[in-house]
Symmetry: C2
Subunit: 417 residues, 2 copies
Amino acid sequence: MGCDQNDLLRVDPDRLWQRHMDMAKLGATERGGVNRAALTIPDVELHWLLASWARKRNFAVEIDDYGNQFMRRAGSDPHCPALVSGSHSDTQPTGGRFDGISGVLAAVEAMEVIDDAEVCTRHPIEVVIWNNEEGTRFRPSDMGSAVYVGDTPIERMLAATDSEGVSIETAVDSLRARIDWAKVRQLGTPIAAYLELHIEQGPILESENIDIGIVTGIQGTRKFEIHVIGEEAHAGTTPERNRQDAFMDAVAIVNALREIFYDPEDIVRFTVGRFEVSPGSLAVVPGRVLFTIDFRHPDNDVVQALGDQVAEVCKKAAIRCTTEVMETRSALSTSFECKVQQVIEKCAKQRAYSFKYLPSGAGHDARYMNSFCPSGMIFVPCYKGISHNEKEYASPESLAKGAQVVADSLLMLDEMI
Amino acid sequence: MGCDQNDLLRVDPDRLWQRHMDMAKLGATERGGVNRAALTIPDVELHWLLASWARKRNFAVEIDDYGNQFMRRAGSDPHCPALVSGSHSDTQPTGGRFDGISGVLAAVEAMEVIDDAEVCTRHPIEVVIWNNEEGTRFRPSDMGSAVYVGDTPIERMLAATDSEGVSIETAVDSLRARIDWAKVRQLGTPIAAYLELHIEQGPILESENIDIGIVTGIQGTRKFEIHVIGEEAHAGTTPERNRQDAFMDAVAIVNALREIFYDPEDIVRFTVGRFEVSPGSLAVVPGRVLFTIDFRHPDNDVVQALGDQVAEVCKKAAIRCTTEVMETRSALSTSFECKVQQVIEKCAKQRAYSFKYLPSGAGHDARYMNSFCPSGMIFVPCYKGISHNEKEYASPESLAKGAQVVADSLLMLDEMI
């Protein structure tokens, strides 16, 4: 990439910011956040908008069987697989305006400035919107990329339904119906390299005043679903000794789990995010509890050792109820390809942006992509590291610098790979 | 009541049982229980059925502004207030086939055998269906009787809405629309005496092989709603020390509450029945928890002393979150009128039924009625004391004996009062 090209290739911070604000209206919550579950009406609308922008520029639009959407600017070599950048557009129920969508919009911005500069790349360049990364509508999360790379068979996933019984298959049909000019993307179509920008979701970059985080890898994780099965009883008449109180036993189990997951160094991440009590009535001793464990650690040995204790601890801690423990997800910790990290560093240096190598606490689709093609991630600072929260914030300047590095890195990868 | 009348006045065990089974179809659950929230479609259907039976016998039907329904067989003295018997028809979400409805059907059976025997009573005899006793659709519970006797102003209650935003007022309108021949009952219309049959919801009568429980009173209760307010955060990136995890603080609070409510004699009833975690997503540190405490004890001093500690214990036990504690309900323990207890005893003896005096662990509408007119309760045995549970069971024989005592007691009260 020559110096003159470098000057032409300037992302537009105002356009990028405005698009963040426009997208935040789709699924906006009262408290300034976003609730945009995968392929719900606002999310389909977002997909349609981006597909429409792509169509205006004659970019191809493709949707695969899991609902992942690709927008492609052609390359000069018809045999070259695409360089892909993007992220997801779905959010947590009380999510923010940046998690996921910033990576999509950075990739759109990059593709558009490359197009505006009339740069002829050898590889096609694609923006991807992975479907259902958060996993709040369809469980589990990150299945868009997992299914795409063949880690998880699509057959097992298509039948997954949301809380109202709507299947992923039906949701994808409604996406395709809305974007009726989109072609079918075959799952597993080769990709030359994958780059994902994301807000850090941690406090390091902001507190150290760093522009660009070069992500070294993603920590390992295991997720569990625990059912505690007791017996409903009348709250006014049933003595404690006669109760099989699923709530009280679940609390005893959580107390025991906290002990084994306690980490004085505070590196273990242990979260009970769902905890559902049935029947959930003031005057009824609960008969059932379902709760989840989300556990993460960068060291695969720790991931293994602690995770293996969960079922036993639950069984032992339950006093009068029975327990069922299911492991719903696991992923070893991942290290991103070195050459992609180096490309990001070079591009940051070229623009005189400060940068820092750091691991990712959160999981991302890049985890699955890394097993499929050279992959990397760019973090941008976010306010106090707050994420999965309506207060989530990243500044226009940070987002623009990140998108700039995405654009530059795509062109450098085009020459390298 | 003469001996010959006694012979004429025989309840019909088969009819009574068949009606229990028929009513259990309205809101039947898959596991053999009943889910019939107040004034939902199956509950309105039940009200309509009973009103239709009443109409066939030319009994008046009246509905008050809270949705309590009265069915009246006229007495000889137009100035006499009614002798009322009944209970409620709503159930817990995983409730049984007997709680509430048995009291209504016993009263219907009593009124019908009195009518069939052409007994001319001085007082009118009424069957009542109190609305929303369980309080699972509209909170709090027992408001039908509380509003009727003026304990709670109706204005405060009419605006109460269910989880879908439907108000009690709207629900009552739909009941009146279905039973369009019902007249309006004025709240607070005087009542001469009140008698309520109920399954025991405890194990004593069954285990001691007793036919009739003569209820001495109802234990005192205080109910609380506790909000734990923290901050949502990302489960993968947020260190424990930076979290304001509303779930973990709520668990710490429950641990602390269990300690103060621990009772080696097992007389204290302490239940956390609702426990709702927001946003309730696997990968989000919970930002809010709402939970309820249902606490009961027969001794008013204990009710006072333990209940007064709740707010302070919650505040102290919370580690990084704030708490809001609201007392949503309280009721002192109640003793039923002696003369009503004596009438029940006489009637049981007359039929050679075994009987036992015992207190009620559960709350009932009879609590509020007792402050309004001479009131009493009759318990019948139920299987292992199981209630608020789909397995709830009472035998046809037990129910028939109970209904017989209701019929006999109403006639004895008619002569006495």
